[in-house]
């Protein structure tokens, strides 16, 4: 059960946690739980856990806007990362037995909103920015020592965004979006002319570069941001285009540790409706389908990974969060909706909070 007092003690002034007593047991009973950062109706920020039926199980308040959440069964912890260029991450116990820990980025670094645990749950990795040098780094945190930051290694690019652990348990894959930002200038993008996005594979044991893949140089303004891994271990990615709005480059592709990287051909209709902006990417439970979303274009697209073609396009106003659900996906929206797609039979639920860009399947 979530410990309200422990949350409050850990978080200090201005950081509140709430527990819904009638639903506290649901967390332990339910088999499927989703987590997401949210904005509340009053304008505050938090994170929520939802049960199988979309019922709200628990919520915590955050000091500012969160972004993605990662979870480790082995560590028994989840982590909400601040949206870039945020400087906090909150480590929480989904069972509520332990108090959450708020991490603060070290001087000269900020978080990018994404991270991942090692397979044994002992280490937490976070994408961060060395903003003076305009270089991405992976911050390493020791779970056994209160999530103390014990080191970092480079992401071999600028503006790293999502990071995943490959099925081998050793290799991290990082999407270097290629966009330089600096806290002195808020979220202003400083290098659109010279962007250099890439997908990199990094050996998490020593930070060594296993491989770095780039799209054609003519696509240097195609920022690679979000990823999911299919059943064959290929890394599917979704892009956001920073070139002229009248241009419509392909936005979805895949990369492999064998060195392949390519964009797939989405038909003109769905491609146009993605509005040069893919906000999240998820793989189905069986790894046979990838879903991508565009809150700019109000569109969700499911893609068959073998045929490399879309099998479904569905509208969801301001839809962005995606998570696997049975044979299909659950999608969440910035207007507070939670719906099923691509084979997930699920009643649409409406909440009085707005979902942030990512939805995590916890259980």
């Amino acid at each position: 059960m979530w410990q309200r007092r422990a949350f409050l003690q850990a978080a200090g002034a201005g950081f509140a946690a709430s527990l819904l007593p009638r639903q506290a047991l649901a967390l332990e009973r339910t088999e499927l739980v989703f987590a997401s950062a949210v904005q509340t109706a009053s304008g505050g920020y938090g994170a929520v856990l939802l049960g199988e039926a979309g019922e709200l199980i628990a919520s915590i308040a955050l000091p500012d806007r969160g972004h993605d959440i990662t979870l480790s069964r082995e560590a028994g912890r989840g982590v909400v990362f601040a949206r870039q260029p945020g400087t906090f991450a909150v480590v929480f116990d989904p069972s509520g037995r332990e108090a959450p820990v708020t991490l603060t980025s070290v001087a000269g670094r900020h978080f990018f909103g994404h991270g991942v645990f090692s397979p044994d749950g002992k280490l937490l990795y976070a994408t961060e920015s060395d903003f003076e040098a305009a270089q991405g780094v992976v911050g390493i945190y020791d779970a056994a020592d209160g999530y103390r930051r014990i080191g970092e290694f480079p992401t071999y690019g600028t503006g790293p965004h999502e990071m995943l652990l490959m099925p081998d348990g050793v290799t991290l894959v990082v999407a270097n979006g290629g966009i330089e930002t600096h806290p002195d200038y808020g979220r202003t993008e400083l290098n659109l002319e010279t962007m250099d996005p890439s997908v990199v594979f990094i050996d998490r044991r020593d930070g060594g570069l296993v491989g770095q893949l780039r799209l054609d140089s003519g696509l240097h303004q195609l920022s690679i941001r979000h990823m999911a891994i299919d059943g064959r271990g290929r890394v599917w990615f979704g892009c956001q285009y920073r070139g002229a709005p009248s241009e419509s480059p392909q936005l979805v592709g895949y990369a492999s540790m064998e060195g392949e990287i390519r964009l797939i051909e989405l038909p003109p209709g769905p491609l146009a409706d993605l509005r040069n902006y893919v906000g999240s990417v998820a793989a189905s439970a069986d790894g046979a389908t990838i879903a991508v979303s565009s809150p700019e274009g109000d569109l969700l697209v499911a893609i068959d990974v073998e045929g490399k073609r879309p099998v479904l396009a569905q509208t969801l106003r301001n839809g962005c969060g995606l998570a696997p659900d049975g044979a299909g996906f659950v999608a969440s929206s910035g207007l507070g909706e939670l719906i099923g797609m691509a084979g997930a039979a699920r009643e649409t639920k409406h909440f009085d909070f707005q979902f942030d860009n990512h939805l995590l399947r916890v259980g």
């Binding site: 909103g113 400083l190 002319e193 956001q240 002229a244 009248s246 902006y277 301001n318 942030d356």
Partner: protein, 356 residues
């Protein structure tokens, strides 16, 4: 009887007021016709004047010629300040936003490149085609500011500055060319102006009035963020750190605050003349007044900043006014970026806000 007549008149007025609620179509039309196009035309006129002034200066270098060019530059800075936040369509095509003003330039890349062109007297920078092939940072207002006001600008008054002047002339021609292109694109039949005013489901840019309104409101919301993050906070003192006035746009020309004022005026004008905050239901009828009140607060703060930026940040009262201006931009952003979209039933502001 008299009371009944008054009551009937009041009801009639109430009905008329209700019927006069601004529609999205009227907002979009007014934004294009009353605000965007006129401001593009002003930039075009100013840029043509600047082009002429640079041509005249290069033909007959003189102190007067430099003064005239500087005055024309001032007009263009002000005119550009009013459209810098209109980041849709023509300004975002062909890298025009960066080519007109590469800012911020945190690493001073543009400055180094401009200085290299001047030091090497790179002749390819003095013709339009050659200049357009170069880095966006050496093609626009920032580069021309250095030519006119940077180290060595005194050479423009005689023949020793011939190369510098020719480079400046090419930049002015480039700016004028872009301004002319943008005017043409905002007037071309079937172009962005038509799409924005009369969205269609099969248009690639604006499929519905809702999307067009989201784009319009987003211009102001993002514009306020850009004003604060690119043109105010970087040079102001913070967290005990000193002010850095040389991180302000146009500090060499002494036009930093003129640009900021033009930017504020441009956004206020778009909100007021388009009536975007009047296209709301009865419960939110006060929002338009609140937004305009806050824009007037921004203007009042700007009225207090009378010194060049280097002196202003060192003056307690004027630095405080700048701090207040930052607060006002935050308040305006909350109104335009959060309250107004909600009141209009739009979704500017959360998942789709930007780049994550």
């Amino acid at each position: 009887m008299r009371l009944m007549i008054i009551a009937a008149l009041m009801l009639a007025f109430a009905g008329a007021a209700s019927a006069q609620e601004t529609t999205p179509g009227e907002v979009l039309h007014a934004a294009v016709v009353d605000v965007i196009r006129p401001n593009m035309l002003r930039l075009d006129a100013g840029a043509r004047g600047l082009d002429s002034a640079m041509t005249a200066l290069c033909a007959v270098p003189s102190q007067d010629g430099v003064a005239i060019a500087a005055q024309q530059f001032r007009q263009v800075v002000g005119a550009y300040g009013k459209i810098d936040f209109l980041r849709i369509g023509p300004l975002m095509e062909d890298n025009r936003a960066d080519r007109l003003l590469f800012w911020p330039d945190r690493r001073g890349i543009g400055l180094k490149q401009v200085q290299a062109i001047l030091a090497e007297e790179d002749a390819t920078a003095t013709d339009l085609a050659g200049l357009r092939a170069k880095s966006v940072a050496v093609q626009g207002l920032g580069a021309l500011e250095f030519v006119l006001f940077g180290t060595g600008a005194e050479s423009l008054t005689d023949a020793t500055g011939a190369f510098r002047c020719a480079y400046g002339q090419a930049i002015a021609g480039n700016i004028a060319g872009m301004a002319k292109e943008m005017v043409a694109l905002w007037y071309v039949p079937g172009g962005i102006a038509d799409h924005l005013q009369s969205p269609q489901a099969d248009y690639a840019d604006y499929r519905s009035e809702t999307e067009a309104m989201e784009a319009l409101v987003g211009l102001v919301s993002h514009g306020l963020e850009g004003l604060r993050d690119k043109h105010l906070l970087p040079f102001m003192a913070s967290d005990g750190g000193p002010a850095k006035p040389k991180l302000a746009a146009f500090w060499r020309a002494g036009m930093t605050m003129e640009f900021v004022r033009a930017n504020v005026d441009g956004m206020a004008e778009l909100v007021a003349r388009s009536g975007m905050a009047r296209a709301v239901g009865e419960a939110n009828q006060g929002l338009d007044n609140s937004i305009q009140f806050e824009f007037r607060n921004a203007t009042r703060a700007l009225d207090l900043v009378t010194l060049p930026v280097e002196a202003a940040v060192a003056d307690d009262k004027q630095a405080a006014a700048l701090g207040y201006l930052v607060l006002v931009t935050g308040s305006l952003q909350a109104m335009v970026g959060e309250q107004l979209p909600t009141a209009l039933g739009l979704s500017v502001g959360f998942s789709s806000l930007d780049g994550d």
